[in-house]
């Protein structure tokens, strides 16, 4: 699945341009950048429970925006983070998944994949939180595949928008968490 380049100037093969754009660590036109206070939100995690970002003040948070539940692979992005929960726990980091799916879909998906972190429903208004973070894809009506690492004070310290067809893995997240744990002011990730 090729992603459309987002700037007006397009030269060379579109796939190449697309990957050049998306391999920037943040898309300056759209997603929220490090240094910015992460917008608070309150979304349903289950049919009768709501979760706010501010609930996790005091610990790092990894926000995982993703397009939709039920991708057809057993080892998708969320499955991977589920597997790596011990590594994230070393930093006391809370992983939170967010998509536009509703709570019942999330419930079924979470049970099926045995996920051990909350999935939040950015359902009504649709994509409102994704929009706040600059990662909503209007045409598709889904969020980007985007990662935000937020520090215990609620400030975004690292963000990354992945091409939707590519699972970004966990190395960037872990590098960001390590950098924060070392007390570095500017989180630097070199791929």
């Amino acid at each position: 699945m090729t992603t459309k380049p987002r700037t007006a100037v397009v030269t060379g093969a579109s796939e190449e341009v697309g990957s050049i754009l998306h391999n920037n660590e943040e898309d300056p036109m759209i997603s929220l950048k490090p240094g910015v206070q992460a917008p608070d939100f309150c979304l349903s995690a289950t049919p009768d429970q709501k979760v706010s970002l501010s609930d996790f003040r005091g610990q790092p948070v990894v926000l995982v925006f993703y397009p939709a539940d039920w991708s057809p692979v057993c080892s998708d992005q969320l499955g991977l983070y589920n597997e790596l929960k011990p590594e994230f726990s070393e930093f006391e980091a809370q992983i939170i998944g967010i998509s536009v799916d509703g709570v019942w879909c999330h419930l079924a998906f979470s049970q099926n994949r045995k996920l051990h972190f909350p999935l939040l429903a950015d359902f009504e208004p649709k994509g409102a939180v994704a929009r706040q973070y600059g990662v909503y894809r209007e045409k598709e009506g889904e969020s980007e595949r985007a990662l935000f690492v937020i520090d215990p004070e609620g400030v975004i310290r690292w963000s990354y928008v992945s091409p939707v067809g590519i699972n970004p893995g966990a190395d960037g997240i872990l590098k960001a968490l390590e950098s924060m744990a070392r007390g570095e002011k500017a989180v630097s990730i070199r791929n």
Partner: protein, 181 residues
């Protein structure tokens, strides 16, 4: 070429490898023995090995998704314990060929089938010697940007294309062409 994740742990003599150490192409797979997609990739890799012959070195490293696949870890331990008796590939191949039948009970039978010393086999698993390698692979995989199973790296760069034979072959041949310019 699009920038993708790269291997942090370079291939060494420590790795399980098939093919010449100086082959122009090295294909590393991080895999899970209970993952159906890795099961599907198994014959693809065999075919690639046949087609590319001496040009290809294939390396397998562990990335069991223990949350999703309850038998992935014991299968990986079985392969690593077999490795300690010099029969890694026998067990690796058997695990994928018989993936449909994978469960803990069957593993001793397979160990026997490939001629392992069962006492040592069981002991190495129990003592955690087999698991050590798996933990190392998991860490190197995470750092290298493994994003699921199977994750392939061609000459150290993560392959983000489709895991079918045609696509992988094209990517490998493309890398060969790059090397000869």
């Amino acid at each position: 070429m699009a920038k993708s994740a790269t291997l942090t742990q370079l291939v060494s003599a420590h790795d399980h490898a098939e093919g010449p150490a100086d082959a122009l192409l090295t294909l590393v797979e991080y895999g899970d023995y209970q993952c159906p997609y890795c099961g599907a990739a198994y014959p693809v890799v065999k075919r690639l090995q046949k087609t590319l012959d001496m040009k290809l070195r294939f390396v397998f490293r562990n990335f069991p998704l223990t949350q999703a696949h309850p038998h992935a870890l014991i299968a990986a331990e079985a392969a690593e314990a077999a490795a300690l008796q010099g029969k890694f590939w026998d067990m690796h191949d058997l695990l994928f060929e018989q993936q449909a039948f994978l469960k803990p009970d069957i593993i001793p039978l397979w160990a026997e089938r490939i001629g392992l010393d069962l006492k040592k086999f069981g002991n190495d698993i129990e003592q955690g010697f087999a698991e050590k390698r798996i933990k190392e692979d998991r860490q190197s995989g995470i750092r290298s940007g493994v994003n699921g199973t199977p994750t392939f790296f061609i000459n150290g760069t993560r392959y983000d294309g489709s895991p079918d034979y045609g696509s992988l072959l094209a990517a490998l041949e493309s890398e060969l062409a790059l090397l000869s310019t």
